[in-house]
């Protein structure tokens, strides 16, 4: 497949050529969707969040806010991960207010295909983690980002990222122990 110049496409979007945004979406949607789905834990929320992220990116490109200093893919990755973290925070707020038993709702919608099942397992495993810890685990341990990249995305120090990872792993270990005791 021929190399596509996404920076050129981004510049054209800035000049008002909306159709060039399609090139950007087509070449980045799978990579971004995978990350957002891992963050959100289900595909429906991931599509909503990614759509919101693309709208934000389009607005920024139209207004000339993208300065081209970083790669377009890295910039989009940041926009999408910030949008996902905001959505996770909104969901956490809703969950604390909500009286519906979310566990039973989720179990009723348990998927069957393996990628969906894996996503469901991930969601079940990570759902009790605070948003920042969850984001750190997904970005570092699943997405394979460096501690510095995770710190940039989360807007905190590398030490804070490490601390969140240690706490998250401790919670996950404890949770695994509890599950094994129950079984």
């Amino acid at each position: 497949m021929a190399e596509v110049d996404l920076t050129l496409a981004a510049r054209r979007v800035g000049e008002g050529r909306t159709a060039d945004f399609r090139i950007i979406v087509e070449h980045t949607q799978q990579m971004l969707f995978r990350m957002v789905a891992r963050m959100m834990g289900n595909q429906a929320d991931a599509e909503d969040v990614l759509q919101e992220a693309y709208v934000k990116a389009f607005r920024a490109l139209s207004e000339g806010s993208f300065d081209g200093r970083s790669k377009l893919e890295s910039w989009l990755y940041q926009v999408a991960s910030h949008t996902a973290i905001d959505a996770l925070r909104r969901r956490a707020t809703r969950r604390t207010k909500d009286t519906v038993d979310i566990d039973s709702t989720d179990v009723a919608q348990a998927p069957t295909a393996d990628p969906e099942l894996a996503l469901f397992e991930l969601e079940t495993w990570l759902k009790d983690l605070p948003v920042e810890q969850r984001a750190a685990v997904v970005l570092k341990s699943i997405e394979g980002k460096t501690t510095r990249e995770v710190a940039e995305i989360l807007g905190c120090s590398e030490g804070a990222v490490e601390q969140r990872l240690v706490r998250a792993r401790a919670t996950l270990r404890r949770r695994r122990g509890d599950d094994e005791e129950r079984n």
Partner: protein, 87 residues
């Protein structure tokens, strides 16, 4: 050892979610959405142009009115001069 187990499980979930992709038509829906967005940059530029035009018009109007005022002053002074000179 337990820590390794957590990492191994995360790695397994990473592999199993590697082929996730948005549903068919996702790109079209995004394009449709952005095509229907209002264009803040364009309207911003238009607003800026209109503001500049208004400021220029206001400047011209002020210049013309000050010119008219000074000619009126000159006429008034000259009429006083006339009054003083007549007797």
């Amino acid at each position: 050892m337990k820590n390794e187990t957590e990492e191994a499980r995360l790695e397994s979930l990473r592999e199993r979610t590697q082929n996730l992709a948005p549903s068919a038509g996702f790109g079209d829906r995004v394009l449709l959405m952005v095509e229907n967005l209002p264009r803040p940059s364009r309207s911003g530029r238009e607003r800026l142009f209109a503001l500049g035009l208004f400021a220029a018009a206001a400047g011209v109007a002020m210049f013309l009115s000050s010119g008219a005022e000074s000619s009126l002053d000159a006429r008034t002074i000259s009429s006083f001069d006339v009054v003083e000179l007549e007797p």
